[in-house]
Point group: C2
Chain length 103, copies 2
């Protein structure tokens, strides 16, 4: 069952942080190195590396060493499972709401 998956746990935990959500939005515009990600936040490389590691462990972001830099990319279809699950819940909620109105 979807809700016991450790991958889903780690994905939601990764998404609960606003900095990590901003990083994902930035990566939506294209791949970026850790320093490119850190810069707009005025964050240390070490701090950003920790966020990226969490996103990587949740399988939302993939990284690749290119020369001395580490390039980060969004993992395609990584968000599909959880957004489908959330939309299904939303449909349920609307059905429950309508049924309540009919009673």
């Amino acid at each position: 069952m979807v809700q016991y998956s450790p991958t889903i746990d780690s994905a939601f935990t990764a998404l609960a942080d606003p900095t990590r959500r901003s990083v994902l939005e930035r990566l939506g515009a294209g791949s970026a190195t850790i320093s490119e990600l850190a810069e707009p936040f005025g964050m240390s490389l070490t701090g950003m590396k920790k966020h990226v590691r969490l996103l990587e462990e949740a399988n939302l972001v993939a990284t690749q060493k290119v020369g001395r830099a580490r390039v980060c990319t969004l993992v395609p279809y990584a968000f599909e499972g959880i957004s489908t699950w959330l939309m299904r819940l939303d449909r349920f909620a609307q059905v429950v709401e309508r049924t309540k109105g009919e009673r």
Copy 2:
């Protein structure tokens, strides 16, 4: 911007726990009291109340006192914002992936 919203923070934090996701799935089948929610988990009422409070604070679940029981219901459209945001990210990820292939 979506990613700085404290509501989104609390929604993702609420969703990071498998028990709370199961509670949401259960509520997708219709409203339920705290005891009805606690029973299948073999959980104390106090334990379930804590989970429900977190879901309520995240505005994913609404509760209403009916006699001596507290009835919990999914909030309609509560998941719409975050599922839309996730699907948008997914589309971005697919575009980035395609662009990479074309280089």
